[in-house]
């Protein structure tokens, strides 16, 4: 199990859970489709790797790495 900000680019992973207190940001990630068992893929990273481009549910999002560190994948 790894946090989503630490995984390899262009490889498929499955969401298995969230870390930290459930708050508005977790809720937003869930609304955007980061639900349990959903497949995710990191497509690209910004220069300093602080923002990641994530493919989920057939569309693409750019999300700050610190937020994706809450998402646990395997």
């Amino acid at each position: 199990m790894k946090s989503l900000d630490k995984v390899q680019k262009n490889k498929n992973f499955k969401v298995v859970g969230f870390t930290g207190q459930p708050d508005g940001v977790t809720r937003r990630l869930l609304e955007l489709g980061f639900t349990i068992d959903e497949r995710v893929k990191i497509l690209s990273t910004s220069i300093q790797k602080k923002v990641l481009l994530v493919q989920i549910r057939g569309y693409v999002l750019s999300v700050r790495a610190s937020l994706l560190s809450r998402v646990q994948v395997e």
């Binding site: 859970g17 869930l30 639900t35 549910r57 999002l61 750019s62 610190s66």
Partner: protein, 719 residues
């Protein structure tokens, strides 16, 4: 007369549909969060009057940012009205999440499937979808107006259902789990806000409380004065995840039956591998901006400006001679000659350049490149307490500060919002183009291109510096929730391009026709009459403006422009920046729109607007770039950030403008006296010393920041 509310995910095409239904030309764009406020407009269906309300995009009924809160409040206020829920056809899976939220709460929804892109990700059977959700479903292409009549038919239909609550199977199952352990009725009866319309009609429906408890929506419970602690304890720890999964599973179930997926990914293309490449991203961005500025100021824009200038001359000459013949060469002729034709036509000749810059910015906005820019800049902007989303606001600032300030609402954090709004005026807006071209062009000739580019860069650099200072002092930003959707690349249609050009041209002409003509007449009066109301145009005495200017001259003398006419033009420039050039034209008695003539007049030793050296010109341009923005921007700033921050912002702007204009004047002056290389060597040494001190302090500070990891900084969620 009925209200119809238009809601949907960001970038689903709400404003495009709003324009189609109400025949409006509201601003749209291929970017998350173009609409930041609600808009209301009348439209008719078979003679019956309706009001359509456009709202900022939302993902669910739990708002996170300021503009999302506006939409949710509007929904609650208009609970008994019809709701158009627009979904992007190619992103249906995520868009339907909001639809479910609306249906769970009993809103009367008409679902609109909008075809934004030609790329077909889903093939949808609307009838099947309609029967599965139990609501009307319409297929439209909002931009082309396809399916609008169909939509109108659904909107005029009266809702014959007693209630619109959808008891989806997952809602029933989740309710069962906690209903037994908690007495919801008691919670509501004891605590609920009973007089609120939304509360009366929706809140008391017990499942809503259950769903809100699963969502752990504390704000909702607080707002309706409901006891949350107990019910939150009864819900599972991962209740948010359970509910979201249940909703998405239900959506998958629906889509399996009534839609067929034909493509894999939406929004990301092979082109992004180049645009987002770590070595190419910044050179591409700088090249795009350089191309826009080149086309605006020097090739296309300059060509059309020249033509318009000659055309205005051709028009004004016969009118002026007619007035001269009718009234003679007295003050009536003077008003028309100097205040109206001279001043206004000078600014009018810049219309092509101003319209072009707006046009290119809109193309940029429509292309989908804005989201990519936000992605590229998030790293840098995060360091100065802003978000990648601020890029949109700041880029729009190059067009017009007033409308750009308004877009700062899409920030999640209050401090980041204030900072973004405050920084907008530092982006050189189109209204300053005439100042740079006329004044800079007179003294720097062909090299003025470097002066203009330098001014644009200076504005950006000052904004970065101020943001950083505010971030470590008064406006510390919280952890930013930068989550941004990537839209697909799109080409602006000719119709939309024409509309943008027409809209900006109309706005500019209205500004010139209203504010500028009246301001010029006021300036003419103040510069032609003395305090004893004596006509002093022939130099028989001192005019009101001259007296004020001379009184303030000692303040501006250290900056190299202690001339009363220059100071007066800066004062009137607070009304609108275009007035700076028109007033300069008036003071120098220019009676035509030819900018070259005005530039040449500034070089004459007899010029009323007198610059003693190139150093003073540069200092004046820097001051114009940075000092108090126009009155419309100040009003917008006041509206967005409040009295306190507007006042602080004006103070900072004046201080920064004064100090930097002084520094530029002194450095340029020193370069002229001691030589450029010597001054450059001194400045480089000072700069290196400062950088070294900064790096050392930063290293010490970083070591103290987090004991658990090396580079987590303030973004660290773990430690």
């Amino acid at each position: 007369m009925k209200d119809v509310l238009l809601v949907g995910n960001p970038n689903a095409g709400k404003t495009t549909l709003f324009n189609s239904l109400t025949k409006s030309t509201e601003h749209t764009g291929n970017w998350h969060g173009v609409t930041v406020d609600t808009k209301k407009k009348k439209f008719f269906i078979d003679g019956a009057e309706f009001y359509l309300i456009d709202t900022p995009g939302i993902y669910s009924l739990c708002p996170l940012s300021f503009e999302e809160k506006t939409t949710v409040e509007m929904l609650e206020k208009n609970y008994n009205q019809k709701i158009i829920n627009i979904c992007d056809k190619n992103n249906l899976q995520r868009n339907l999440y909001l639809t479910l939220c609306l249906l769970e709460q009993g809103f009367d929804v008409v679902l609109v499937i909008n075809e934004i892109d030609k790329k077909n990700i889903f093939n949808i059977d609307c009838q099947k979808l309609s029967s599965m959700l139990g609501i009307d479903v319409v297929y439209v292409n909002a931009e082309k107006g396809v399916g609008i009549d169909n939509l109108k038919n659904f909107l005029k239909k009266e809702n014959d259902k007693k209630e619109n609550f959808r008891q989806f199977h997952y809602v029933k199952e989740l309710s069962k789990k906690i209903k037994n352990s908690i007495k919801i009725d008691e919670i509501i009866k004891k605590n609920g806000k009973k007089n609120d319309f939304f509360a009366k009609n929706c809140l008391f429906y017990e499942n809503i409380i259950v769903l809100k408890a699963y969502e752990k929506d504390e704000e909702f419970f607080k707002k309706y004065e409901l006891e949350s602690k107990n019910i939150f304890l009864q819900t599972p720890e991962n209740s948010m995840q359970i509910l979201a999964k249940a909703r998405f599973d239900f959506i998958d179930e629906i889509l399996k039956k009534c839609a067929k997926r034909t493509h894999d990914v939406y929004g990301y293309s092979k082109f992004d591998k180049i645009v987002l490449n770590k070595w190419l991203a910044f050179p591409i961005f700088i090249s795009v901006l350089a191309l826009i500025f080149y086309l605006t100021f020097f090739s296309v824009g300059a060509f059309f400006s020249e033509i318009l200038s000659k055309l205005l001359d051709l028009i004004s000459s016969p009118i002026l001679s007619f007035i001269k013949n009718c009234f003679g060469q007295n003050f009536v002729y003077d008003i028309f000659n100097v205040a109206i034709f001279g001043g206004v036509s000078t600014v009018l000749s810049f219309l092509p350049q101003i319209a072009l810059l707006f046009f290119f910015l809109s193309i940029l906005e429509d292309s989908g490149y804005m989201s990519r820019i936000a992605f590229i800049f998030e790293d840098i902007l995060g360091r100065i307490g802003l978000s990648g989303k601020s890029v949109y606001t700041l880029l729009m600032g190059f067009g017009c500060s007033t409308s750009a300030i308004m877009t700062s609402r899409n920030m999640d954090d209050k401090n980041a919002k204030i900072k973004t709004a405050i920084l907008c005026p530092y982006m050189s807006c189109t209204a300053k183009i005439p100042i740079y071209t006329v004044v800079g062009g007179a003294f720097f000739g062909a090299k003025n291109i470097f002066v203009i580019l330098g001014l644009y860069f200076l504005g950006v650099a000052v904004a970065i510096l101020i943001s950083k200072i505010l971030d470590v002092t008064l406006l510390k930003s919280k952890k930013q929730t930068f989550i941004l959707e990537f839209p697909p690349y799109r080409v602006t249609s000719l119709k939309r391009a024409g509309l943008i050009l027409w809209k900006n041209t109309k706005e500019f002409l209205l500004r010139v026709g209203s504010v500028m003509i009246s301001m010029n007449v006021i300036i003419w009066f103040l510069s032609s009459f003395s305090f004893s109301f004596k006509y002093v145009a022939q130099g028989e005495g001192i005019s009101i403006l001259e007296q004020i200017g001379k009184f303030l001259a000692p303040i501006f003398s250290p900056l190299g422009f202690g001339n009363w006419a220059i100071i007066s033009s800066l004062i009137v420039g607070v009304v609108a920046k275009e007035v700076v050039v028109s007033s300069i034209a008036m003071f120098n008695g220019i009676d035509s729109g030819a900018t070259k003539l005005l530039s040449a007049s500034l070089l004459l030793p007899t010029s009323v607007v007198f610059f003693s050296s190139k150093a003073s010109v540069l200092s004046f341009l820097v001051f114009c770039l940075l000092y108090t923005p126009c009155i419309a921007s100040v009003a917008m700033l006041f509206h967005e950030v409040g009295k306190k921050w507007t006042f602080i912002s004006i103070l900072i702007q004046f201080f920064v403008a004064y100090v930097l204009a002084y520094v530029v004047y002194q450095i340029y002056f020193a370069c002229e006296v001691f030589g450029f290389l010597q001054i450059l060597a001194i400045l480089t040494t000072i700069f290196c010393v400062f950088i070294s001190i900064f790096v050392i302090f930063r290293k010490i500070k970083r070591k103290k920041l987090c004991l658990h990891c090396d580079d987590c900084g303030k973004d660290c969620f773990k430690h």
